[in-house]
Symmetry: C2
């Protein structure tokens, strides 16, 4: 006889009360394996419930392994999860994932914790740390209309797997835009990715092996470092000079042991804001050509030129097809859509595509189609002009503020575009960490220079970004920066 008490007024539904009751009886040994439960009809009658309630409880018991799984029969009790494995079963501890993962992963989990934390808001903090473009400028309504349009006009076509190389009209729109930068690439020479981080990852997956050497600028994009670590490559840091990476050092690096890739951000470099000259670009390309090293050109903010003459991407001079160009919409328009791309010779794209397809199947077609529509409607051009107007003024305010407030001895770059500039402070003023804390005390958040290097640097430096600040904040921020640094250089202590 099965002793179960049900409470029709309590919260768990009746079938749940039944199966939980039976599980309790099995777990505490009242019902032994092999015991035959009553037929559903009989138990239903005994308990005064509907037969389907009992049936559902038995189904649940079966699903949880408390009943023998003979088809059509739910009657014989068993105990789940207590089967001996073939061989002896030592009692297992909890899984130690740290031990199961390669040691390098532990570093990466650590690196996750070392990422610069977002400074809080409130308290009038001026945040020079963020690279997220001002959301007040984000054309969200235009995007909504673009999404609506593509869903209404193409609907279901966009909701199945798309072209793994990327939605073709978007590839054509990207090719078209690249032509305005002097780059000739067909839609076949473009692969759309989920952002330019994914594009860089893909290039590294495709063309590096563990232990290979990759040359990068020092400083460079901070999220490139953990990514390079993930690929177990040896990083050759090439110092940045006022006109881009030091070509003599790169020459020596190549002579010593050939890098398999050179990674460069020649235009509005992150973090320094430097744009290299035509001559520098030619020398760099010639050097890569000489050693047959693919040049990965990251044009993440190519479109953000505010002043002065245009310098075309290195890719525009690339007659041998040695340059792998990375682009993205993230820094100009919608970072959350995750749309970036690679422009490279078709044979190179085929390699990238193989890795991309087998690791992703395809990208997010809806987002790609919406982006294509946004460009085709001319909204991208309009947005870009708006962005230029806004940031030209902000960068001017920044450069003016720096000139007005920096104490002697402090050096900084004069970017012609992008969001970032780079400040170097004489070591006598304190360590980077001390200076960062002092700036914070004065109500200014920055990103410490060490995030942009592999190896520790003697000279304290900071990246200042104007992406998320308006002119009055920039002016006030420069004033505070100047005060804080002057204080540090005079050796006074923060309160």
């Amino acid at each position: 006889m099965l002793l179960l008490t049900l409470d029709p007024t309590s919260a768990p539904p009746l079938y749940e009360q039944i199966y939980r009751g039976i599980i309790r009886l099995v777990d505490d040994g009242t019902l032994l394996p092999g015991f035959h439960l009553p037929a559903t009809r009989r138990l239903a009658a005994t308990l005064g419930v509907n037969r389907t309630t009992v049936f559902r409880a038995y189904q649940e018991l079966w699903a949880r392994g408390y009943l023998e799984s003979r088809p059509g029969s739910y009657s014989t009790v068993r105990r789940p999860g207590q089967l001996p494995a073939r061989g002896t079963v030592p009692q297992p501890a909890q899984v130690r994932w740290n031990e199961l993962a390669p040691p390098r992963n532990r570093e990466l989990v650590g690196a996750l914790k070392d990422l610069p934390s977002r400074p809080g808001k409130g308290d009038g903090l001026i945040d020079f740390s963020s690279l997220m473009a001002d959301r007040d400028l984000c054309p969200a309504d235009d995007l909504r209309r673009a999404v609506k349009h593509v869903l209404v006009s193409q609907g279901k076509d966009l909701l199945g797997y798309g072209d793994p190389q990327g939605y073709r009209p978007l590839r054509e729109a990207i090719a078209q835009r690249l032509r305005t930068h002097g780059v000739t690439a067909s839609a076949d020479e473009i692969l759309v990715t989920g952002g330019s981080q994914q594009a860089l990852d893909l290039v590294l997956r495709t063309f590096t092996r563990p232990g290979d050497r990759v040359a990068v600028e020092a400083p460079t994009y901070s999220m490139a470092h953990p990514l390079l670590r993930l690929h177990d490559v040896e990083v050759a840091e090439v110092p940045m000079r006022p006109d881009g990476l030091d070509l003599d050092v790169l020459t020596a690096v190549c002579a010593e042991r050939r890098p398999v890739l050179v990674y460069t951000i020649p235009t509005f470099h992150n973090p320094t804001g430097t744009t290299t000259s035509q001559t520098h670009r030619e020398h760099l390309l010639a050097l890569c050509r000489q050693h047959r090293i693919p040049l990965v050109e990251d044009g993440f903010d190519e479109e953000l030129k505010y002043f002065g003459k245009a310098v075309l991407p290195i890719k525009s001079m690339d007659r041998e097809g040695l340059v792998i160009y990375l682009g993205t919409f993230s820094k100009v328009v919608f970072s959350g859509l995750r749309v970036g791309w690679v422009a490279a010779p078709a044979a190179c794209v085929q390699h990238l595509l193989a890795i991309y397809r087998f690791s992703n199947l395809s990208g997010n077609t809806l987002g790609q189609a919406a982006m294509a529509r946004f460009i085709d409607e001319g909204l991208y051009e309009v947005h870009l002009r708006r962005l230029h107007r806004a940031y030209r003024g902000r960068m001017q305010a920044m450069l003016k503020g720096m000139a007005a407030h920096m104490p002697p001895g402090v050096e900084w770059t004069r970017p012609a575009g992008g969001y970032t500039l780079w400040v170097q402070i004489p070591p006598a003023a304190g360590t980077e960490a001390e200076l960062e804390a002092r700036l914070r005390h004065h109500g200014v958040a920055v990103v410490a220079g060490n995030h942009f290097f592999c190896s520790p640097q003697p000279m304290p430096a900071f990246r200042l970004s104007i992406a998320n600040l308006k002119e009055p904040q920039i002016a006030e921020g420069c004033l505070r920066l100047g005060r804080a640094l002057a204080e540090a250089m005079e050796g006074r202590h923060a309160a």
Copy 2:
């Protein structure tokens, strides 16, 4: 004196005619490096054009490296791209990307070409090859409303970088759905990915090293093979039996050399359609526990149960936290949105998240938010019921058709859910390729069994998918299949 002829009536704008003319003169040696171009004002007067037209032409020349880059001056001619690199410059050939990539990549580029091609339409072909769900059932309008809603209510918040672990309300909705399958996971134990292929890739990136051993079912998901190849792991194929992978073989595999992961699809297995029993699941989990091997459970079509009793995922029995569960919305609703997930212990998710973040920054927040809205509104449940109604009938039609038309000697599985079943044909009937061609001749497309194995198999087999077929087509398809196979087994030749 500068000899340029302009044609105001021709297509290229005047500034372009000017700079192209000058480039021609430099390239053919008429203008030598060091030549001083006339001031813009003078040249404008000479040519009878606006001064800004000349200015723009000079800008372009500068950008293309045909003028010295002294600030503010555009006057001195130079030749671009002809600078000697430091050291000697051998004349480079075109880049051979095949040689720059690791040899394994060449295989993958080859594998890209070996993927089963989509059969054409028209000519009344019945396509049992596609795993894309019937687009007539796709709730595109509901998705459009969900996208609109989230863009209107959250707009700009969704268009910046999102939570790298995935949009939290979506993680909560996934956790809630997993509970209906007996799996208890919190939002912290879920990582949203761009589909379940990316999730599997991420697990392999995180927990395998080249040369490690990974145990998989044979046959298994065809796109797992090139992915495993990408990771340079050794694949231990464990044959599928009527109740799932052969546990004795897996035991021997573990004894010989411990795999670092076991990959299994216990429910509506792709390609066979097999669902393993509770007992099999317990044995498999116990074996993994014994050897401390993380079990990767791919529940890609968990939700597609049409008949019979529920079997809960192995993850639901996982008390030690050894199971890494992969899920996706691609097979049930919108494959093009690219939303999948991993459910695993928090410590495991931290490892996955580190790799994910450094290789992707974040996922596509807009798609994730739309999916969350779609679930929260109950539309997912409604859609699932609709899908069940449709495919229950289709799977019944399939099983009925197979029973009616298969010649003796042909064997097939009886799936209780999902889209696929598996047919094995006596080798005497011909090779797989011959049989595939014969079926095609009879107007039926299938996927050849060899796509689902690493190593060649003696027994011809096919995967049949009902994902994209309606009942009458299924009935007709089975008739054709039966005829074609009967013909093959009688040794007659296709016309």
